[in-house]
């Protein structure tokens, strides 16, 4: 095979996943506003129109983007100019980097070559994810500090404390999954979830690690600064928190970073705990239901079903972010810290301990 083919494949993978994530980011800003409106018995955005069509306000993200582009880009007096301009980049870059290790489909064979539908199948997979998403805190902290203003500073302080606290329980809560599937590669974890548990249930992470799932999801919300953990930008006490002094495209970079965190977080949850691209009871050749019934499905349809399943799960978890945001009120700061250190951390340690016991004594060598 010529190297040109490899390069083309690599570029195509990056392009497809970028398009998927950024497209979803744009759609999510609309879903957030419309979903919020419908949950609160309002109509939501419905004014922006192209050729007289409003289509329920789907053109609002376009209008937003144009507005962000053409607004004045100012730097407040007394702000540290260099760090002030660096902060949005520090926020956005790690968010974009996290999407590299998520597998969005099974390996495909094209022209005799096996191609993983994943930008990079690193052998430290999930650790890379933690390493990069841990960098996201710098954007928030730098923005808060360099704005030379009280509220952003408070927001930055809060977020750095919160993100470090929840990073600990996030890492520990996923440890159970690594123990069950005996790998840190996301592609192998997704592959391992294709088996059946006791012949009935698909061996998804959520069924073997229910506590781990709840802890991971909670920590993910805290990491992405989403309600009920959005204290760094609590508008009732901090106006807008760390991005208070930002306007125009720099603000939109913070906004994009938050939504990319949401989308990638949703993709990671569905990969770790909901089988990733695995479709329930769908093997390589076709459906194989527990009762011994099997339905043959052509290979192309299997592929489409699997990618569709991944996209569907990701969409569901994206919606869950919105749904939770407009349901649960924001926690108080001491409550967040108490939950992080006194509840989540012991529970995730307990989860690891129990998983270890079960693996050691009941299922020798994995489920």
């Amino acid at each position: 095979m010529n190297p040109l083919f490899d390069i083309a494949v690599a570029v195509a993978r990056v392009a497809v996943f970028f398009a998927f994530v950024f497209g979803l980011v744009v759609v999510m800003t609309w879903v957030e506003r419309k979903g919020a409106a419908y949950i609160q018995d309002r109509r939501g955005p419905n004014r922006a129109r192209i050729l007289g069509l409003t289509l329920g306000g789907v053109f609002h993200p376009l209008a937003d983007a144009l507005k962000f582009l053409f607004k004045e880009d100012f730097i407040p007096d007394g702000a540290h100019r260099l760090f002030y301009q660096l902060a949005p980049m520090f926020a956005l870059a790690p968010a974009i980097m996290t999407m590299a290790v998520v597998p969005f489909g099974p390996p495909v064979t094209i022209a005799g070559k096996t191609i993983a539908l994943q930008i990079a199948d690193l052998n430290v997979g999930i650790l890379y994810l933690f390493a990069v998403s841990g960098m996201a805190v710098y954007g928030v902290v730098l923005a808060g500090w360099s704005s030379n203003s009280k509220y952003p500073l408070l927001g930055g302080l809060r977020s750095s404390a919160q993100m470090i606290s929840y990073e600990v329980s996030m890492g520990l809560s996923v440890m159970g999954i690594l123990m069950v599937f005996q790998s840190v590669r996301l592609s192998e974890i997704a592959l391992g979830q294709g088996e059946l548990l006791y012949g009935i249930l698909p061996k998804w992470g959520v069924f073997v690690q229910p506590l781990g799932f709840v802890l991971f999801l909670t920590a993910l919300y805290a990491e992405a600064n989403r309600t009920p953990f959005d204290l760094p930008e609590g508008e009732s006490e901090l106006v807008a928190g760390y991005h208070l002094e930002y306007a125009s495209f720099k603000f939109s970079m913070f906004m994009m970073a938050e939504y990319i965190h949401m989308v990638v977080g949703a993709a990671v949850v569905s990969t770790l705990f909901f089988g990733g691209w695995q479709f329930p009871y769908l093997a390589d050749k076709g459906f194989a239901f527990p009762g011994g019934i099997s339905v043959a499905v052509p290979a192309a349809a299997v592929l489409i079903l699997r990618i569709g399943s991944f996209v569907g799960k990701t969409l569901f978890f994206c919606w869950l972010y919105v749904w939770v945001r407009w349901t649960v009120p924001r926690f108080r700061y001491d409550q967040v810290m108490r939950l992080g250190w006194k509840v989540m951390l012991p529970l995730s340690l307990l989860n690891i301990f129990v998983t270890g016991l079960v693996l050691l004594f009941i299922d020798k060598g994995g489920f």
């Binding site: 018995d41 749904w323 939770v324 349901t327 649960v328």
Partner: protein, 161 residues
């Protein structure tokens, strides 16, 4: 006991299920999802009024912007008696009287200005008027303007409403 200090009953002890918090979040999610689905299914029932196209009907006694009434021949009904300016608690009405060309009428207002920025919409001027010359039944809030001068309504503007 100090005046103004009130004992408030603290919420009673939470049950085990409530203190787990997760079940309660599930219940909350069910409530919001119920609203969401209901609003999607019954889109027309959302109580939002699409403002510029659809207007809320004001109650009959709503006190909106003022207008001055006209006689059948088109001249203002006002006789410049200063009753409304006297009654006004915000002192927002300025009247300059002049002798009326009509022999049946003694005076007419040369100037009749209402400063909409000072008006408190109390309706005292309407109550005070002996000739029913001023009314507040246009059904309009004061529309926004970009200068203060535009919000001092002169007699022409008041008459044309």
């Amino acid at each position: 006991m100090t005046i103004g200090v009130k004992k408030v009953a603290r919420p009673e002890q939470m049950s085990f299920g409530e203190s787990l918090y997760l079940l309660e979040i599930m219940k909350g999610l069910a409530v919001t999802m119920g609203h969401f689905l209901h609003n999607i299914a019954h889109n027309k029932e959302i109580p939002t009024i699409e403002y510029p196209e659809v207007r809320r009907t004001m109650p009959a006694r709503f006190r909106g912007c003022h207008r001055l009434m006209k006689r059948p021949d088109g001249s203002p009904r006002c006789v410049a008696c200063y009753m409304c300016a006297t009654a006004c608690p915000a002192k927002c009405i300025t009247i300059v009287a002049g002798e009326s060309p009509d022999p049946a009428v003694e005076k007419y207002p040369v100037r009749f200005d209402i400063d909409m920025l000072r008006c408190v919409f109390c309706g005292q001027c309407v109550e005070a008027c002996p000739c029913d010359a001023i009314r507040m039944d246009t059904g309009w809030h004061t529309p926004p303007e970009d200068t203060r001068e535009k919000l001092i309504y002169m007699i022409d503007k008041l008459l044309e409403k």
